[in-house]
Amino acid sequence: MKNKIVLEAKSINKSFYNPVKVDVLKDINFNLTRGEYASIIGRSGSGKSTLLYILSTMDTDFTGELIIDGISIRGKTEKQLAAVRNEKIGFVFQFHYLLNEFTALKNVMLPGFKLDKLSEEELEHNAYEFLKDLGIEKLAHKMAYQLSGGEKQRVAIARALINDPLVIMCDEPTGNLDTKNADIVFNIFKELTEAYNKTLLVVTHDLNFAKKTGRIIELDDGKII
């Protein structure tokens, strides 16, 4: 069970054509197994963010094959892809991207509304538990814009967890945080992989952060080294 492959990238290529053809990703092949804590590092412009958007199914304009939980995403409709993202992928962004119109708790619950598997009460209970685990249950009923950067990032992590996804993808999750908060986030991630057996894929340019993860995938000029 531990070694079950949850995400598989097979010879992924991507090019931008504006104004001339630029190959951003060249023949990317790798697997992620259950419980793995991997980081993607690389210089600015090495294509690591682009790769993350492809792996997250938001960007479908590539060649090659992406298999998530044993199912290829090729030929799926926008609606089906959204459902895959909703159910199997959790997101944490560099810019915390909470919805300012809602409370922290509602922000966490939103992907759950879409999945619509649990009742609102159960969902609220789960969301509250996640916030509690992350030590920010006191902020549950504050509006998103009233929170500090570190707090926002923790709410975003709780949001990524709410639908119990297979993979959690993070784009520079500590990029906007000070060392103290960055450490908190790192430890949370570590606990997620160890205690909850989640798979984590973190894009970062923070080498110290990457070194502490279980596996480093280094991108240079669109290739894995």
Binding site: Y53, S56, M58, A82, Y97, E101, F113, D116
Partner: protein, 419 residues
Amino acid sequence: MKIKHITEISGALMRARWKQTLVAIVGVTFSIAFFISLLGFMEGLNQLLDGIVLNRTPHIRLYNDILPSKKQPIDLNATYKNHHNFISSVKPTNTRKEIYNATQIINKLNKDQRVLGVSPKITAQVFYNLGNIDLNGIINGVDVDKEAELFSFNDYVVGGNLQKLKTTLNSIILGQGAANTMRAKVGDIITVTSTEGEQFSLKVVGFFKSGIAEIDKVQSYANISTTQKILGKNSNYISDIQIKLKEMSLAPTLAHEYESFFKIDAEDIQTANAQFETGSSVRSIISYAVGVTLLIVSGFGIYNILNMLIYEKMDTIAILKATGFAGTDVKKIFISISLSIGITGAITGLLFGFLLSLSIDAIPFNSPSLPTVTTYPIDYGIQYYSIAAIFALITTFLAGWFPAKKASKIDPVIIIRGK
């Protein structure tokens, strides 16, 4: 995805931009309120203007027309059966204007379920004698009660008392114009001369004002027996039977039916007054066009506001999509925003439209030709309210549809990457 959660998100988005939302709602409210009051006012005016003529006009009039017989003697002659008859300038014989068996016809009509009421009438050509001068006049002999009931006669009688026409022997209600010329007051005795040359003295018991000056100079009213006396006819003499139907649109069909059934001439209101129908419908079309324009303009307002909202909320849309909301969910969110604006605007608009109509209805409006009207006329027909509501919902839906479609197509990667 439950509707409840869609509306929760759209509600939060609207609260975030509550001022713009309010402006959009006010736009819809304004256009609906004006649509309703404009059309109600226009239709009220139409009914008033048409009423001047149509209230006093029977839906079907039965009479004997003065025409040459449709079957000429030559047609009856077998010898000329297959010949063409080109006898020109055929004159009518001395036909009686009287309707045969008028009483039986009236009884029969009263039993007809489609008929609201029947009122007999006689007209007499007279001269009003004014010293040396004779004025042309027509005295209408009417059944006072029926005339009041079916043709709102009492609305048009100013000064004096309508009921006195029944109770006072040889009384007359003079047309206002004729009365002015004769300087007649209520209680005065005037003299008229019939076409046969006989003179009658009639007591003025009131004045009649139709709203059309030409008619008021000529027409006067007396009761049937007085008019029969003026004409020198017996008490069976009836020259017209006026019929008011429950449903005016049936008039042409029923006119044909009565024509063949009673062997009599019948004229329906549509044929007699075609021009009024045309005028009313053209006025209605113009006011509908203006009203619909108002609603469409408010639709553009919603369209603009939603477009702005989408530009402002790009991040929100991107994050919703990244966390698994499909394009259709985003579309639903924005359409529910525009529909909430539409529904709220429509409900308040209907209310304000009604209040606006009430206030127009209270503005004094006195016209010398319209004695019964004291304020501006308003029609409170439910159809204006329903048309306004339905049309507002359609325009707001469309105004929401296009921005919502745009929002649903937003690529989250571009937004997130763009930061």
